[in-house]
């Protein structure tokens, strides 16, 4: 049998066995995850369809109606092209990461490489996995957009078929490009001095910043209509040299039943995809093994002497905390910091948010109405709380489960399970609160919102820190997974999904209700002040009670479960 066929057959058998294993999973878990996926998909479909409809109906200010409709259609087609282009570059980026883990780091890599198969065969086997790993999410989130566009423009049926046919070669090109970039990075970068790496990263960031600043600055947004701005800016995304343009134009040609153009563009895309895969396979043949060999032999030993650096001095810095609790806190912080996957996500989320907030002190914002500023401040708090929810779900929820293999140490230590659970809670609040409270504070100050709005926002974001920590730690204790050492897998379980959904529900209720009352007031909706004050008071009381419930109920139930658990 052909080795490549053997690998594909084994992978399909494994897929079938995994699907069959779903029978043994909790139906509640499947129901929760499945329902969430379906709701999200239909929500996206509704949102895209509503957006396209709005564009078609709104047209362009100052244009005759017939021109307005054609301009709206151009804009919609352009948005589709932007989506294809954004997807193209996102896929290149994600494929770099996926190719590295799939081709270099996965457990089966060494097994496959010691087998008598050529490196091109090895590449093709792993490349297929990379494509499937990287493309399913874009297919899931891209289909609502494609369907919404087709529905809004009453596209010909060929449009839907073309969307499927174009997708396969379209995702293969960035996957091949991502693989080649990975081979080059692994081959070249370990040899470069660290200063050179930082310099290169800085150059890339500066170029990106200058491009975004020139094309999407707040002044430009204020000067021109958003539709015009998008049309002017996106001319650059229509380059005939870009595969995303071929895909978008091909699919749009099929929507107009122009099959000769669609067929030509599909052949062009497919030919380039095959060429890209062939080039990547050749790159694998020449570049893969030297890079893999270097990684295999790389000395990753690092030393962390006590008393040096912040991590080395943590014990001293936390001298005021009781001994056993301090040891747990220091351990959790060290583990978090020594796993770059953890803290990079943390800083990327809050870094982006902080950069955006810092840019709010713009003149054009100052000119906006108080109601508008209040609206932006509320949305900022919502975004900040959602980031907090994703971080507590990703990092705090698995903390108790991750103690599973070490429970024999904790069991022998002079610490109760109650203290362990509350230690995780306070660690969560202490690490996330400075960021969330700081960002909300900056947002309110830079937007110059009223004292009332400022106070309510700060109160709510503090409550959110406690509530989301209580939900994450409490549900993490209620649904612990002591068999798993990988936080990502712990989070993807039923408890993790439930925690995230409840966190989002909490934010929607608390921040949504508060936002509605404040905005209604800002737009003068209450008529008299005497109606506003009691309404706000009721909302704040209900939100406070909700926050207390979200903090203490999961903690209590989770703790009871953990105390009853035998190891």
């Amino acid at each position: 049998m052909n080795p490549l066929r053997a690998i594909f057959r084994a992978k399909s058998r494994m897929g079938a066995h995994s699907l069959r294993a779903l029978r043994h999973e909790s139906w509640l878990k499947i129901g929760v995850v499945g329902s969430a996926a379906i709701v999200l998909w239909f929500g996206a479909l509704y949102g895209f369809a509503a957006g396209f409809m709005w564009l078609r109906l709104r047209g362009f200010a100052g244009e005759p109606p017939e021109d307005a409709i054609s301009l709206a259609e151009i804009l919609m087609a352009r948005l589709l092209a932007i989506f294809a282009l954004a997807l193209f570059f996102m896929l290149i980026f994600s494929n770099v990461l996926i190719a590295f883990s799939t081709m270099y780091k996965a457990r089966e890599v060494q097994y496959l490489l010691q087998a008598p198969i050529g490196l091109r065969t090895y590449f093709l086997a792993r490349f297929t996995e990379c494509v499937s790993f990287s493309s399913w999410a874009s297919a899931y989130l891209g289909t609502p957009l494609i369907l919404a566009y087709g529905y809004t423009t009453s596209a010909h049926w060929g449009y839907y078929l073309a969307a499927i046919l174009f997708y396969v070669p379209f995702v293969a090109i960035p996957a091949a490009a991502g693989s080649v970039i990975t081979f080059l990075l692994v081959r070249i970068f370990p040899r470069l001095p660290r200063v050179m790496l930082f310099a290169l990263a800085a150059v890339v960031l500066v170029v990106l910043f200058v491009y975004l600043r020139q094309n999407f600055s707040v002044e430009r947004l204020a000067e021109s209509s958003i539709e015009r701005l998008i049309l002017q800016t996106t001319v650059q995304t229509q380059s005939p040299l870009l595969p995303s343009t071929w895909a978008a134009e091909g699919v749009l040609a099929a929507a107009d039943a122009n099959y000769s153009k669609a067929g030509f563009l599909w052949l062009l895309l497919s030919a380039n995809a095959l060429m890209a895969i062939w080039l990547a396979a050749e790159a694998a043949h020449w570049l893969f093994l030297p890079g893999f060999s270097a990684i295999l032999g790389a000395d990753r030993t690092s030393r962390h002497p006590i008393g040096r650096g912040i991590l080395g001095r943590l014990e001293l810095l936390l001298a005021f905390v009781r001994n056993a609790i301090r040891a747990l806190v220091v351990k959790d912080i060290r583990l978090f910091w020594r796993d770059p996957i953890q803290w990079t996500q943390f800083f990327i989320f809050f870094g982006l948010m902080a950069a955006y907030i810092a840019n709010l002190g713009n003149r054009s914002m100052e000119m906006a109405s108080p109601a508008y500023r209040s609206w932006v401040a509320s949305l900022n708090s919502g975004a900040c709380a959602l980031i907090l929810a994703s971080l507590t779900s990703r990092f705090i929820y698995p903390l108790i489960s991750l103690e599973g293999f070490r429970f024999w140490i904790l069991g022998l230590a002079p610490i109760t399970r109650r203290q362990l659970v509350w230690q995780k809670f306070w660690l969560s609040v202490a690490t996330t609160a400075p960021f969330t409270v700081g960002i909300s504070f900056l947002s309110c100050v830079l937007l110059n919102v009223s004292t009332l709005h400022f106070s309510v926002t700060m109160y709510t974001i503090v409550c959110a820190n406690f509530s989301l920590a209580g939900l994450a730690v409490g549900l993490g204790s209620l649904y612990p997974n002591f068999e798993e050492d990988n936080p990502a897998r712990i989070v993807s379980g039923m408890g993790g999904t439930l925690n995230f959904l409840l966190s989002v529900a909490y934010i929607t209720l608390v921040l949504g209700s508060q936002m509605m009352v404040l905005q209604w007031h800002a737009f003068g909706g209450y008529g008299a002040e005497r109606y506003f004050t009691p309404t706000l008071a009721v909302v704040l009381v209900v939100n406070t009670l909700l926050s207390i419930a979200a903090t203490f109920i999961p903690m209590r139930v989770g703790l009871r479960n953990l105390v009853a658990t035998e190891f």
Binding site: P3, A6, R9, A10, A21, L113, I117, L289, G297, A298
Partner: protein, 246 residues
């Protein structure tokens, strides 16, 4: 069957294997001994084509593992200390996968698979997913799959992890029989000196990347002018004295 000439492997400033020369003829059971970090695993990784040497060559059955990797690997079977198995495959599916990976035809394959599963006592669980196997069963399946394509050279890296005395004896006997009856060459890296002493035709002791001595147990004992009561362990510790890498 295994030829290593002036093999050197450096990681930055550290030399893991230093001008290693070794030849292992057909049908020999060769044991590679050395403390942790001595260079055993690096040598094995070069021989299995996972790592490129800094200089020197390594060949299996006359095929240079760098220039003719596929031909060399066709002759090779490798059993790592922690075997990799696809957990979502059954034992039998895994065996057919390995056959496909080695480009084996269908003729006689079914009988070979069944025989090996029986030999290594995995036939009772052959249609269960590997994820349900005990570590011992997984190790046995790894052995069974290694011999499916009838390798002429078998490299075994510390195979005794997780095996009980009965299974250790079964594996020792099987490997020894392969060398004697079928002329298979075995290169085994181990820390278990008593087993090496028992099964090896020749032993090589490596430390800090250098091959310190090669020979039969008797020859090595003579080299070190040991006393009549000395064991291989005494000689090994004497040779690697003070050089253990952390």
């Amino acid at each position: 069957m295994i030829q290593i000439e002036n093999l050197t492997k450096r990681f930055g400033t550290k030399t893991a294997v230093d001008s290693l020369n070794l030849e292992i003829p057909k049908g020999e059971f060769f044991c590679f001994l050395g403390p942790n970090g001595a260079g055993k695993t690096t040598t094995i990784k070069v021989l299995t084509g996972l790592m490129l040497p800094t200089s020197g060559t390594a060949a299996i059955g006359g095929f240079d593992v760098q220039k003719n990797p596929i031909e060399a690997k066709k002759l090779l079977g490798y059993i790592p200390d922690h075997p990799f198995l696809y957990e979502k495959l059954t034992g039998r599916e895994f065996m057919y996968f390995v056959a496909g990976l080695h480009g084996m035809g269908e003729g006689g394959l079914k009988d070979d698979v069944e025989e090996l599963l029986h030999t290594f006592d995995v036939d009772g669980v052959r249609d269960q997913l590997v994820e349900n196997y005990s570590h011992r069963k997984q190790q046995k399946l790894s052995f069974a799959s290694c011999f499916l394509h009838r390798p002429q050279v078998v490299i075994v890296d510390e195979p005794w992890v997780g095996l009980d005395p009965k299974n250790i004896r079964a594996v020792k006997t099987y490997l020894k029989r392969k060398t004697v009856e079928e002329g298979v060459t075995v290169l085994m890296s181990t820390h278990t000196l008593s087993i090496a002493e028992e099964v090896a035709d020749r032993i090589g002791i490596i430390n800090l990347g250098k091959l310190l001595c090669v020979g039969s147990v008797r020859e090595i004992m003579k080299l070190e002018q040991s006393t009549p009561t000395s064991t291989l362990e005494d000689v090994f510790l004497e040779l690697t004295k003070g050089d253990e890498v952390a």
